[in-house]
């Protein structure tokens, strides 16, 4: 009769304790606090699912939810293809490849706050360089972040500009793992560039693409600083996302329980997104 080895688990225990303290305890605490009424940082009374019921009745919450989805999915829809495009270009034996690889990564080196301040300056309707160029082109007064129909689109574009280097680097690394002989075989079989990409490159990079999509979706859904600095959630609340709401409610309004409840909604959505992507990955044909 063989006994179960205990020693491996003992070795794992410190890491599990650390992960538990850093990851699981805060989640537990957030769930707990969302079931209470709070005053500043103190629990006042147990109210069960009251905080969640209030969210469902709050038009602002539902609007923020849709804004979050639009922001995350729109940013993803731009960042992944752009990242892929640059990865494919940088994978070719072009001149000054190293130089282009360095230049293209620069947006990623800037923090969200710096990126936001940079673009707020560029788009400034009084003295920004874009205003100057539009004036020269005869367009007159054009406002971007003041327009509630445009503000979210602008923030999505800025986010794309800031984020595309990450998928570029990841896809570039994944491209190195695609066997060259497959391209040769495809060429012999009469494949053009597009069908080579679709039938050879993409299936081989599938895991990387899905993992990147999961990572970016979670990042975009949880993003606060860029939106906070660029628009503060305006104009007319058109750029207020759930994560921004959590930040403002938790750290400025000190509505800890309400913020925790919204945080739990974000957490659940993150899990749903991740599981959905993994499901899509498992269903697809794998080499």
């Amino acid at each position: 009769m063989t006994s179960k080895p205990v020693i491996p688990y003992l070795f794992l225990l410190p890491s599990l304790a650390l992960v538990g303290a850093i990851a699981f305890y805060p989640i537990y605490y957030a769930i707990e606090i969302s079931l209470y009424e709070t005053r500043f940082l103190q629990k006042v009374a147990f109210v069960g699912l009251d905080q969640y019921a209030r969210l469902l009745a709050d038009a602002g919450f539902l609007r923020a939810l849709f804004t979050s989805l639009r922001y995350a999915l729109a940013s993803l829809a731009l960042t992944i293809p752009i990242g892929m495009m640059f990865a494919l270009l940088l994978n070719r034996p072009i001149r000054f490849r190293a130089f282009f690889r360095t230049i293209l990564v620069i947006p990623w080196t800037l923090s969200q706050a710096v990126t936001a301040m940079l673009w707020v300056w560029v788009l400034n309707p009084s003295y920004g360089p874009l205003k100057y160029l539009l004036d020269q082109a005869g367009f007159g007064q054009v406002v971007f972040l003041s327009n509630p129909d445009w503000a979210l689109k602008i923030v999505v574009l800025v986010n794309t500009w800031m984020t595309y280097p990450l998928p570029t680097i990841l896809f570039l690394a994944a491209l190195q793992t695609v066997p060259k002989e497959l391209y040769e075989s495809a060429r012999i079989d009469g494949s053009n560039a597009w069908s080579s990409f679709w039938r050879v490159t993409l299936p081989f990079m599938q895991n990387t693409v899905v993992a990147t999509a999961i990572m970016l979706t979670l990042q975009f859904f949880n993003m606060v600083t860029l939106i906070y600095v660029m628009t503060g959630g305006g104009p007319l609340g058109s750029t207020q996302t759930l994560s921004l709401r959590v930040f403002l409610d938790g750290f400025y309004n000190f509505r800890l329980a309400g913020a925790a409840a919204v945080g739990m909604v974000i957490f659940l959505l993150n899990i749903i997104f991740s599981l959905s992507y993994i499901r899509v990955l498992r269903r697809s044909e794998l080499y």
Partner: protein, 418 residues
Amino acid sequence: MRKLMSVAVLTAVLLIPLVASAATEIVYWDFIKPGDGTPRGNALAKHVERFHAKYPDIRVKVEVVPPSSIEPNLIQGAAAGSTPDVVRVYNYFLPMHVSAGSVQPVDKYAEKADKGDWLLPWSSTAFDGKKYALPYEYRFFALLYRKDILDKAGVQVPTTWDEVCQAAGKINSPQVMGYAFGLSQANSAYAALEWTENMIAAAGGQLFDERGRAVFNNAAGRRFFQTIADLIGKCKASGQAVVEFTYNHMDEGLKAGTIAMASLGTHRYLAIRAGGAGENLRWAPPPSFEKGKAAPVHVNGWTLVMGRHAKHPEAAWKFMEFMTSPETQVVVAQAGEMPTRKSTYQDAWLKKPESRFMVEWSEYIAKNGRSGRYPVGWFDFGQILAEGAQSIGLRNTAPDKALAEVVERYNKSIDGKK
């Protein structure tokens, strides 16, 4: 001899840290880094140096905390049982800290303090009869304008809001905004908040009652919201871009000459001049709603508070008292901030012609200054207010309707908390 010298040096090396550690160390949170090269940074370094010279047994450890982090950090620290000794807190947030229990009253230390030598009454930073803060500097909402732009357009400095509408409407163009105000939700909607509290006061109303409920859905509120509509619509004095303007937008616009007039805090006056506007930037009293009548102003500013769990409260009080003493306040004035002590204005430095503007400011607030009422939900109010005011320019919402929605929405949000 050599041996004796070595022993002496060794003894000194061992004793000096002991002596130094015998000094009391107090922790002071400020958003300004001492000696960072800015006027206020250099002033703070000077304050600390002079304090150390006056109180050699007390050391001040300045910890730099970004302004937006002071409130959450102080409240969280108090909940965790650990706060700095002294903190620089903006007056808007004093009620929040008093309510959260993150600061302590200083009455027992202030028994012998001079309570009469302040531009505003001693009670201005007292809550429920207890004194919680000492005002470190003051500022108020003045009309800052570019003289060169007004002269070029041939307009006089306006003294009423109707005159602002006319004058700014004459100046406004795609290149230069006639009158700028900020309605952005970014930067905690400070620009919108500061403008609103002063406009409601000028219109003869008040924002909140004692319970913190919004009570300006009345003639004063309607007057203010109608002014927003007129500036954007009827007079075309301001562009739609005001919807995204923050404090910094207006500051930089005045520097760059792309904004002709704006209502900003006086603390930005010298910085805008130094930043490019130079002698072209002037100040005027805030416009009123009635010709010939001075507009009341809410006097705001940074204050010094004692943390709830201050380790060395007596030493902390000495620092607070020192920083707000008439002598130290002269250095505050030299750094471009308005002193809070009446006697400071008798100093020779403030008698110079180039300091005249600061004396004029003190005279204005001595006659027309008052303290505002800032409920715990002040930040939330700013977001709701900004959104409501934006709808006037973006969705052509009737001013009365926008006003009613702001007041109702804010009061509902307070009720939701209970």
